[in-house]
């Protein structure tokens, strides 16, 4: 039958591109990303073997058990086999979840270290904005009615609040290398999503909620941040970058921003 070789060829082609890594993740830029990749590879090996064997077996029975005019085997099944493959899949699948649990825990159960640099994220249709607390380490008070996008203030900074005087607002995310970062994420209209492929992290930004996300990046560079939750007609354009800088460059950048205020 033609079908068996077609299934086999498709299976081999699909597996080939996963093994050759023709289209692949960008390299990770933190410990979490490397742990992520290890968990992905573990899963890929388990899933790849299941996928290959299942498709191969399907092709095999199609080849082997063609009608030749005789009688088929009369059997209603085999309880031992049922128990065996039920147990085996349950152990494998649950084992994978357990092995991945610490990666999830590292992102979501652990608190950000106390010295983490806080940065507020404000997502709106269709841009990200980032606010740094300045030298005093405090974010100034904001109000909806004070929002003035045209004037470069998507947060609605209260001019009466002195703690806000040294706050820096930026349309792209700048962070120092190797330092823990804590994002405090807000959306002022619809649901958006913060995603940096190289960080292997993604988080919805939900209006009415304050969602924290903490991480470190240990490789200097500029990384893209595409919005990853449908947010309206400009969703495909909602895009910013995350620039990982040396500590000195970062301080320099902050100083320049403050001077230009």
């Amino acid at each position: 039958m033609l079908l068996a070789p077609i299934i086999w060829v498709l299976t081999v082609v699909i597996c080939y591109f996963f093994i050759a890594k023709t289209w692949w993740f960008p390299p990770p830029i933190n410990a979490h990303g490397r742990a992520y990749d290890a968990q992905f590879m573990r899963t890929l090996i388990v899933v790849g073997i299941i996928f290959f064997l299942a498709q191969f077996a399907l092709g095999w029975v199609i080849m082997k058990f063609r009608n030749d005019g005789g009688r088929a085997q009369y059997t209603h099944g085999n309880n031992k086999l049922e128990t065996l493959w039920t147990t085996a899949t349950a152990v494998l699948f649950l084992g994978l979840v357990v092995m991945g649990a610490n990666i999830w825990a590292g992102v979501h159960f652990d608190e950000a270290p106390p010295d983490a640099l806080p940065i507020e994220v404000m997502a709106k249709q269709f841009a990200f904005n980032f606010r740094y607390p300045g030298v005093d380490g405090k974010f100034g008070h904001t109000e909806l009615r004070l929002i003035n996008d045209a004037n470069g203030d998507p947060f609605g900074m209260d001019p009466a609040d002195p703690t806000g005087k040294d706050d820096i607002i930026s349309a792209s995310l700048k962070i120092p290398v190797g330092k823990p970062i804590k994002l405090i994420m807000h959306s002022r209209d619809v649901i958006h999503n913060f995603f940096v492929p190289e960080l292997r992290m993604k988080q919805d930004i939900v209006p009415g909620m304050e969602i924290p996300l903490h991480f470190e990046a240990d490789k200097i560079g500029v990384y893209e941040v595409p919005c990853s939750e449908l947010c309206g007609l400009g969703h495909f354009q909602m895009h910013t970058t995350m620039q990982v800088m040396s500590e000195a460059d970062f301080e320099q950048w902050k100083a320049t921003q403050l001077a230009n205020k």
């Binding site: 099944g77 049922e82 209209d189 400009g234 969703h235």
Partner: protein, 592 residues
């Protein structure tokens, strides 16, 4: 078996309208649902072709676009909002009016009563109302294209505030979104009527001897699907009503305080949560996946057994797998929400339950291969589609093992990896189940055979075609390609996957065009195909004991009595290689 009793037989009503339009006959209603689904699938497919075209040619000027959409495609260039409308409507029409409608309401309506030996569904009038309500829902949905602002752009998941704050969030979010919610609410009503009917029919109308464990697996899947529908659509209906209230009356179920949308402060809302919608929606939405695929699993089991001439391997295990999928299906909705901002500890619970639901799915695959093992496979077109179903089910299923882990979902959520996954499993695998069902039951439904040669060409082209469309989506997902983008040119790292997007688009054109073969086969065979015998496949279940097409009351006044399980193929010592469910208990020539 009792002798034919003409005096107890019921006859079809005489008038055309009562017989074919507002019919109470479950067979006519099943065919009505089938054609409603057929219309919808071509509509949904056309929308997807426009989307695939736009993704690789975002700036193309196509004159006739501006004829259809004078504002949304002014000058012939498709706007991003038009793209999102097409996407929303593609998803909605495919999920509700194709995947929910054809396998369950179409084939289920036609064959559930016959396979359990009943004259009709338990509530024929409710059945008729259910179809015409579905029809109304489809009309309302399609009309969303023609209202001011066009169709909604919030996706088939309609997350608020995008879907809840009215026109401020984008064109199509005014009247279009209202029409969408209204249509879904009507559809929920129709599905509830259908679900009650399916459950009552299965519980009450089984003929003598048709114990639950003798039911064909198709009936088991229709029963469990109906239970899922009853519990799921009730919740969606409530959620839809609340969303409509938020939009029109100014309640705040899903809208929090502090919204500043499109330069407007929304001061009339406070206290709502978008997460509430996500919970309610996915409490329906995840069972919905099984509503789409369970009947396909039933059809695959039925066909693999019939055409391998072997009993289903592990019938009981299959029944328990269907039941546990049904039960666990209500406990895993949170895996759609790992990135939503819900309590991250709950993600671990949902992940564990999600992996648990993978187990019965794996059991079914093993049992299908076990059914084929040692068989004598007859390669009819129906069987080819059933085999294709198994292959696609495996391919679509295994990618779920990545997505079910919250840790790995940290990257894959909302990428094309997800799009590839669900299209493989609940899209094309389910559609292969429908094709398989069509080729298998067409002779019974229309009294004629379909063309096998044309059927096989169609099968091979479609099988290779869908693999070419949906496998590359996994690769572009690996690269981090976000879904629901109308244009990829803003993201630099996506430049490398554009050749794959072109490939997928060509594969989609190819696959869509070979569907013409199916349409030709379907309509040509309906009128010109060779006359079908009552049991062309030498199958065992009750629908094959009666003429093709069946008389109005199915069994011509006779009450069938069942003596065997549904899949008694190749019984040693039996005269033929199949024992029909109604054959006498002691098989002549049998030693036991």
């Amino acid at each position: 078996m009792a002798s034919p009793a003409a005096h107890t037989a019921h006859h079809a009503p005489e008038g055309f309208i009562r017989r074919y339009v507002f019919s109470l006959d479950h067979k006519v209603i099943g065919i009505q649902y089938y054609f409603l689904g057929l219309f919808s699938v071509f509509l949904g497919m056309s929308l997807s072709l426009l989307m695939r075209f736009h993704m690789v040619n975002p700036n193309a000027v196509v004159k006739w676009f501006s004829w259809i959409w004078p504002t949304a495609a002014q000058g012939g260039v498709m706007t991003p909002e038009l793209y999102l409308s097409l996407m929303t409507m593609h998803g909605t029409i495919m999920v509700f009016f194709v995947l929910t409608t054809v396998p369950q309401s179409g084939f289920g309506n036609y064959f559930l009563p016959i396979q359990i030996g009943a004259e009709d569904m338990a509530f024929p009038v409710l059945n008729m109302m259910s179809f015409w309500t579905t029809f109304l829902a489809l009309m309302v949905m399609v009309s969303a294209f023609f209202v001011q602002g066009g169709a909604p752009l919030a996706g088939w998941t309609a997350y608020p505030p995008l879907s809840g704050a009215g026109q401020l969030t984008g064109p199509g979010e005014g009247m279009g979104q209202n029409m969408w919610i209204l249509s879904i609410a009507i559809f929920c009503g129709a599905s509830l009527m259908g679900a009650i009917n399916f459950i009552a029919t299965t519980v009450d109308l089984r003929c003598k001897g048709m114990t639950l464990m003798r039911m064909p697996l198709t009936c088991w899947t229709w029963l469990v699907t109906a239970i899922l529908g009853l519990l799921g659509f009730a919740v969606l209906l409530a959620a839809g009503a609340l969303l409509m209230l938020d939009r029109t009356v100014g309640t705040s179920f899903f809208l929090p305080a502090g919204l500043f949308i499109n330069d407007h402060i929304l001061s009339n809302h406070k206290g709502g949560s978008p997460l509430l919608w996500e919970h309610l929606f996915w409490f329906f939405g995840h069972p919905e996946v099984y509503i789409a695929i369970l009947p396909g699993m039933g059809v695959a089991s039925q066909l693999l057994s019939t055409f391998a001439r072997k009993p289903v391997f592990g019938y009981k295990a299959m029944v328990y797998a269907i039941l546990s999928i049904g039960f666990l299906g209500f406990l895993v909705w949170g895996h759609h929400m790992f990135m939503s901002g819900m309590n991250p500890y709950s993600a671990m619970a949902f992940a564990t339950l999600t992996m648990c639901i993978g187990v019965p799915s794996a059991i079914k695959t093993f049992n299908w291969i076990g059914t084929l093992w040692g068989g004598k496979i007859h390669f009819t077109t129906a069987m080819m589609f059933a085999l294709g179903f198994v292959s696609l089910f495996v391919t679509g299923g295994v990618s779920g093992i990545f997505l079910g882990q919250p840790a790995l979902d940290l990257y894959f959520h909302d990428t094309y990896f997800v799009v590839g996954h669900f299209h493989m499993i609940m899209g094309v695998a389910a559609i292969f189940g429908m094709f398989a069902g069509t080729f298998y039951w067409f002779p019974k439904m229309f009294g004629r055979m379909m063309n096998e040669a044309l059927g096989k060409i169609h099968f091979y082209c479609t099988f290779i075609g869908v693999y070419c469309i949906f496998t590359p989506m996994h690769y572009v997902g690996l690269v981090g390609n976000p879904r629901r983008y109308s244009d990829f040119s803003n993201v630099n790292y996506l430049a490398g996957v554009m050749p794959l997007h072109h490939f997928m688009t060509y594969a989609a054109y190819f696959t869509a065009s070979v569907q013409i073969l199916f349409i030709i086969n379907l309509f040509w065979s309906m009128f010109k195909g060779p006359i079908a015998p009552p049991n062309p496949w030498n199958a065992t279940t009750l629908e094959w004991t009666i003429p093709s097409p069946p008389p109005f009351d199915n069994f011509a006044g006779v009450h069938p009595v069942v003596y065997h399980g549904a899949y008694e193929y190749s019984v040693p010592g039996a005269a033929t290689d199949f024992i029909m469910q109604t054959d006498p208990a002691v098989v002549p020539g049998s030693s036991h």
